[in-house]
Structure formats: structure tokens, C-alpha cells
């Protein structure tokens, strides 16, 4: 057991970091919406799923199935990220419009919104399995299978840690995730729209009195959170090269766990929570076996919440930055 841990420590760490970064990016969407509306956006998992397919469209349309290099590769990756972000952000905004805003206007409970979100989640999954995937990717009757992405960039060893190779795509995912996080923090802290988001999260009544357009702020929150999930979808697709219509469910649960683990409503908490969860799962798998992964992550969550009831970094969008 101990030997296993030593021999597998570094490769499991590297993979855990890469995967945790994807959790973190998805967790951002949960955390932002929660910070502003105190609402678990249960359909966010499908926003991520749609991001993976949005990114998939680009190489499919251009018929790319061999590895590219240089400018072409950079262009393709950027286009995939943009397409993923666009698809996801569009879905998130539409979701807010259709499934949440009518409830908000009627002063409904957040529990009603939760059920509406579960309904929307089922609807989106089935919509993709039945109609969108077969139509867009030209696969009659094959909507319910795994879709593979052809290798678009050769994978190389970038450097190694104690003889364990670290691959280009893994570094890319981690760096991109942290980069997105920095951009987002700046956006929330330094821009006018960010100020509106923070104000709304802190005290919506006062924000309205100060002339903040709440509907617009809520929409922006969904837009930004959705775009992050779309970026996560594109990065995920680049690194793991497969997706399917039900992929969102597990990611959604794990990312939400990550958000709570880090402190929900807290942007940095999402990053910390996501990466902590990715690592904990892989380390736990060495000791207990990979089939206990989910049990490990939920146990970590319960333990952390017992000792730090508001997560690792504490909650809320407003208090964390002063």
C-alpha cells in the first residue's frame, strides 16, 4: 500500500491537478450564481456539457482529423475555446431567461427554482441525445454514444518530475484554468459590471437604490459563469478527447461539491476547492481503489464542513475582497 502510494504519487498528483482545474472552472459558475442569487443552479452541469459539444463543432466543421502545428493549431484551439464559451454562455443566459426569471419575477422560493433547474437539466440532456447531436454531427440514431475528438495536437513531454513525465496538454489545462481565474477576479474587482455584481451580492436592495439594473447583473452573472463552464468544456475536450450527452451530471455534482468545499460564493474558493477535490480523489484512489472515488470526495466534504462550516476559504463574493 505504502509502496503503491510512493510509486504512483507524482503521476496521480499531475493528473489530479489537471482534472481539478476543470472542476474549478465549472465551480466558478455555481459560485457566482450562488453569490448573487443564493441559488443552486442545478442545470449548470448541462451548460458544461453543451460547452464540450460547442468546442467539438469546430474541428468537425473544418474536417480536422490529423495533428496540426504552429499558427493553425493555436487558431484551432482558440476557436474551440471561443465556440465552447459561446455555446455555454448562450445556454446559461437562455436558461436564466426561461427557467429562472419568471420564477424570480413572481417571488418564488429558491426551492421552486431548484426543481425548475432539474427539469431544465433533463430537458437539455434529452434534447442533445435525441436531436442536437444526431443533427449537428450527422449521426442518425447514434446520439447516445461517446463522441471522440481526433487528436489535433501531438502530445509531448514538457518536463518531468522524478522521472514522471508532465505532458503539454496537462500544463496547458492548469495554466489556462488559473489564467481564466485571474481574468475573472479582475473583472469582478476592477470593472463597472463587476462592481454591480459585488453590490448585488452584498445587498440587492441598496444596489437597486444606487441605480444598479438587477436584471442586467443577473444576466451578466449567468453569462460569465456559463462562459467559464464553456472554457472548461473546451479544455476538457482537448485533454480527454471524448464527451457524451450525460457527461454533465457527475461534473456538476463534483464541481458543486468543490464550490462548497472552497467556500461557496468565493471565487478563489472555487479554485482551491476544485484542485483539492481533484487531488483528494486521486490520492484516495491509490489507497482505497478507484471505485471509492466519489465516496472519498463526499467524505472530504463532510469532514471539512464539520470543522469549517463555511468551507475552506469562507463564503461569499462580497466579503472575500476588501
Amino acid at each position: 500500500m505504502f509502496n503503491d502510494f510512493v510509486s504512483q504519487f507524482w503521476p496521480q498528483t499531475i493528473d489530479g491537478l489537471a482534472f481539478g482545474s476543470i472542476y474549478a472552472l465549472i465551480a466558478l459558475g455555481y459560485t457566482m450564481v450562488y453569490g448573487v442569487l443564493r441559488l443552486i443552479n442545478f442545470a449548470h452541469s448541462e451548460v458544461f456539457m453543451i460547452g464540450t459539444f460547442g468546442a467539438m463543432v469546430v474541428p468537425f466543421v473544418f474536417g480536422i482529423n490529423t495533428p496540426l502545428t504552429g499558427i493553425a493549431l493555436v487558431g484551432l484551439i482558440l476557436a474551440m475555446i471561443a465556440a465552447g464559451a459561446l455555446a455555454s454562455a448562450g445556454t446559461a443566459v437562455a436558461l436564466e431567461r426561461v427557467a429562472y426569471r419568471p420564477l424570480r419575477k413572481r417571488g418564488a422560493s429558491r426551492l421552486a427554482a431548484l426543481i425548475s433547474a432539474i427539469g431544465a437539466s433533463i430537458f437539455l440532456q434529452e434534447l442533445f441525445a435525441l436531436l442536437v447531436i444526431p443533427a449537428v454531427f450527422d449521426r442518425p440514431e447514434r446520439g447516445r454514444i461517446q463522441m471522440g475528438l481526433p487528436r489535433i495536437a501531438e502530445r509531448q513531454e514538457l518536463f518531468s518530475i522524478f522521472g514522471h513525465p508532465v505532458m503539454t496538454h496537462q500544463v496547458f489545462v492548469v495554466v489556462a484554468a488559473i489564467g481564466m481565474m485571474i481574468i475573472l477576479e479582475r473583472l469582478v474587482n476592477r470593472t463597472k459590471i463587476g462592481r454591480g455584481i459585488r453590490a448585488t451580492a452584498q445587498n440587492p436592495e441598496a444596489a437597486v437604490l444606487m441605480g444598479v439594473d438587477i436584471n442586467r447583473i443577473v444576466q451578466m452573472t449567468f453569462l460569465i459563469g456559463g462562459a467559464m463552464a464553456g472554457v472548461a468544456g473546451a479544455l476538457y475536450l482537448l485533454a480527454y478527447e471524448n464527451t457524451n450527452y450525460y457527461i454533465g451530471f457527475l461534473f456538476g455534482i463534483k464541481a458543486f461539491t468543490a464550490a462548497v468545499l472552497g467556500g461557496i460564493g468565493n471565487l478563489r474558493g472555487a479554485l482551491v476547492g476544485g484542485i483539492a477535490l481533484g487531488l483528494a480523489e486521486n490520492y484516495g484512489a491509490i489507497i482505497f481503489g478507484s471505485d471509492w472515488k466519489h465516496v472519498i470526495s463526499f467524505t472530504v466534504l463532510v469532514l471539512v464542513l464539520m470543522f469549517r462550516p463555511t468551507g475552506l476559504l469562507g463564503e461569499s463574493l462580497q466579503q472575500a475582497r476588501a
Partner: protein, 387 residues
């Protein structure tokens, strides 16, 4: 007369629309149409391995009906979506309202465990074309049959091949913790250990898409063969991630759940090249030479514009069992069941003859290999050689 009560509403999966009912309930007159059910996951996430046997069964019945027989057969579909509890309701509907005289299926082992007792009490014979869980045959059921050998045969068959023809000494066995994958992988493990092969274990959750924790374990263990007990949806990405991690020389084995083009799509043709899949089924791959199988493959392609895939031949044979019974003038459930214990005919997949517990007598496991992105038949597991 009971036959018309169901009307159009009865078809569970619904490609058949009897319209106003085929017969006009002529009192005591002999029925001219009998209903046979087909039950399985026709629209859920595992439909990929149920549609081919459905097509095979439909083909057999259509061909039979085309001969203008005295008693025609109508196939009623029941889409259980692999949900065992709902399958029971559908079975009861099939018995009470639709009055089926026989059932092809249920397709999976989980639903079979719940549906078979209901059929048993209603005395309706069933023949499954794809349920391979070994425990099913140990319930003393008289009306339940399957037309292919079980996992307790498949597992050791594949294990013998791994230790024999593939000469592996150190094998990493992974399962997907499903009702199908776990027992199959356990059977492989036991047989490998009995042969003195070193076995390392792990399991994965097929709903996930990152198998890095498993892959790192495999890489650390440096096995010369890997067996995965589970479905192709997970097998493809798993194989790809293994090859990406530098586990390049270890041969990849899997069981019938992975015998699908989806394995190649998920892993990529280059990674899937040379992967070996065992199956108690006989797939009519394009390179077959046998006349009867060739004809089946041609007819199948003509009807469904696709090559016959996994369990298609078994579906055809399962339907043929009932067709033979009806040809012999047996039109009630009881008579058909009595007749089944005596059937002995050359089916497309194998010689069809049942033991008392419902198992088929022929116990051949076949090995398939991915070559150039296609599934090709290597031969019987006990005889096949690796080229």
C-alpha cells in the same frame, strides 16, 4: 378472441401498429395470428446492444410471415430502458392485455431476474438473446431459456485465451462495478489465478470520463495484458488513456459488452488496433464463409442497411426457436414451452438445443480482434491463435 383486446395501444416500443387488430376475434376459431414479445432497452443508453438482436428477431419473423403461413406471428416490442422495475409492469401488460404466447428477452440480466419469475408464474416461455449472468440459470425456472452461454463460461474462456494463446504472465483486471462487468471480471480473475498468472485489480465508474487513477495504477504495475469487464462506452476512453500514458505493449482484452464499433470510435483506430474481445456470441462479420451465415448477413443488410452487429444472430435464433414451435402447430404458451425442450436445429449462431435449466448446450466462446478499425473474427477462444 383474446387477441384483439390489446388493439393498437399495446405495442410498448411501437414499430408495429396492428391498426384495428389483425383478426376479428372469431369466437372459437383457431387464431391466425399469435403475438410474441421482444423486451429490452430499445431507447436508453444501452440500446446499441439491443437493437441488433431486435433486428435479427424481426428479420426471422418477417421472413416467416412472408411465406404466408397458416399462423402468422406479430412481434410486440416492450422498451424496458433496462429499468428492471418497469420491465415487470411491461411484462404484466404483455401477459394480461396483449396475451403474448412467448417472449424474446429480456435483453439484460438485471431485468431478467425480475421478469422471469413473472413469466414463470404465467407459464410464458422466454428465450433471451443476450442476458449472460450465470446466476439466472440457477433458479429452477422451467420457462426461461437463453440462446448463448453465460459469463461463467465466457470469463474462463477468455482467461484461458489470455494465459494460453496470449501467454500473459502478469494481468491487470479492471471492472466497471456493474451487474455485468463485475461478475465477468471476477470469473476471469479466478481462472487466471488458477493458472498461476499474477493478477492485479482495480475498478472504475463508467459514468466518469477521466480514468487517470486507474491508468496510473496500470502503468505502475507494468502488466503484459489488461482485461476490462464492462461496456464499450467506458472501454474506448480507457484504452485510449492507457495508450496515451505509455502502456503500449500490454494487450487489451474485454468481454461481449465491448464488442461494438464504439470501442474503436472511443479509443481511436490506432489505439484500438489489436485489441481482443471475447464473446459468447457469433457475429456475422463480413469475412464469414458459412453459407447460412452469409445469407443472414446479406438479408440483414438489405433490411436494415447495416452490418449485423452483436447478438444479431442470437436474436434471429431466439425468434427461430418460437417459429419452429409455431410451424409444428404449437400456438399456446404451454405447448411452445414443451416443444422448446425438444428443439435441436442448426441456427445461424450455433446448434440450438437447450438443457433442462434453460441454458443452451453449445458452449463456444469466440475471440474477435480489432484490425484496421474493424471487428474481425479470430475463431473459437479454445482454438484461436494470435497472428
Amino acid at each position: 378472441m383474446a387477441l384483439t383486446l390489446g388493439l393498437a395501444a399495446c405495442s410498448g416500443g411501437g414499430s408495429e401498429t396492428p391498426g384495428g387488430g389483425a383478426t376479428t376475434g372469431g369466437g372459437e376459431a383457431a387464431p391466425t395470428t399469435v403475438k410474441i414479445g421482444f423486451m429490452g432497452d430499445l431507447t436508453g443508453s444501452n440500446a446499441g446492444i439491443v437493437i441488433p438482436p431486435r433486428n435479427g428477431a424481426k428479420l426471422a419473423i418477417d421472413q416467416y410471415n412472408a411465406t404466408n403461413p397458416k399462423v402468422k406471428i406479430e412481434m410486440v416490442e416492450y422498451d424496458s430502458q433496462a429499468d428492471a422495475t418497469k420491465a415487470v409492469g411491461l411484462a404484466q401488460q404483455a401477459i394480461k392485455t396483449d396475451k403474448i404466447v412467448a417472449l424474446i428477452g429480456p435483453a439484460f440480466s438485471g431485468e431478467s431476474a425480475q421478469v422471469a419469475p413473472v413469466l414463470e408464474e404465467a407459464k410464458i416461455p422466454s428465450v433471451s438473446a443476450s442476458a449472460t449472468n450465470a446466476a439466472l440459470a440457477q433458479n429452477g425456472w422451467k420457462y426461461w431459456h437463453r440462446v448463448l452461454p453465460n459469463d461463467a463460461v465466457q470469463g474462463p474462456g477468455i482467461a484461458d485465451f489470455i494465459a494460453g494463446a496470449a501467454a500473459a504472465k502478469n494481468v491487470f483486471v479492471i471492472d466497471d462495478k456493474s451487474e455485468y462487468g463485475k461478475p465477468l471480471a471476477d470469473a476471469v480473475r479466478a481462472q487466471l489465478k488458477a493458472k498461476g498468472v499474477t493478477v492485479t485489480d482495480d475498478s472504475l465508474d463508467p459514468a466518469e470520463s477521466d480514468f487517470s487513477s486507474v491508468v496510473n495504477k496500470v502503468a505502475a504495475g507494468k502488466p503484459d495484458a489488461i482485461f476490462f469487464g464492462g461496456y464499450y462506452a467506458a472501454a474506448g476512453p480507457l484504452l485510449k488513456q492507457l495508450r496515451d500514458k505509455g502502456v503500449k505493449d500490454a494487450k487489451f482484452f474485454s468481454g461481449d459488452g465491448s464488442l461494438d464499433k464504439g470501442l474503436v470510435e472511443g479509443a481511436g483506430a490506432a489505439n484500438a488496433e489489436g485489441a481482443l474481445v471475447g464473446c459468447p456470441c457469433y457475429v456475422a462479420t463480413p469475412d464469414v464463409t458459412d453459407e447460412k451465415v452469409k445469407k443472414f448477413a446479406t438479408d440483414y443488410k438489405a433490411a436494415y442497411s447495416a452490418d449485423p452487429a452483436i447478438y444479431a444472430t442470437e436474436g434471429f435464433d431466439a425468434a427461430t426457436v418460437f417459429i419452429e414451435a409455431i410451424k409444428a402447430g404449437k400456438v399456446t404458451a404451454e405447448d411452445i414451452n414443451t416443444f422448446i425442450s425438444t428443439v435441436d436445429f442448426a441456427g445461424v449462431s450455433k446448434q440450438v438445443k437447450f438443457e433442462a435449466n434453460g441454458e443452451v448446450v453449445a458452449k463456444d466462446i469466440y475471440m474477435y480482434q480489432i484490425k484496421g478499425g474493424n471487428i474481425t473474427l479470430l475463431g473459437k477462444a479454445s482454438e484461436a491463435k494470435l497472428g
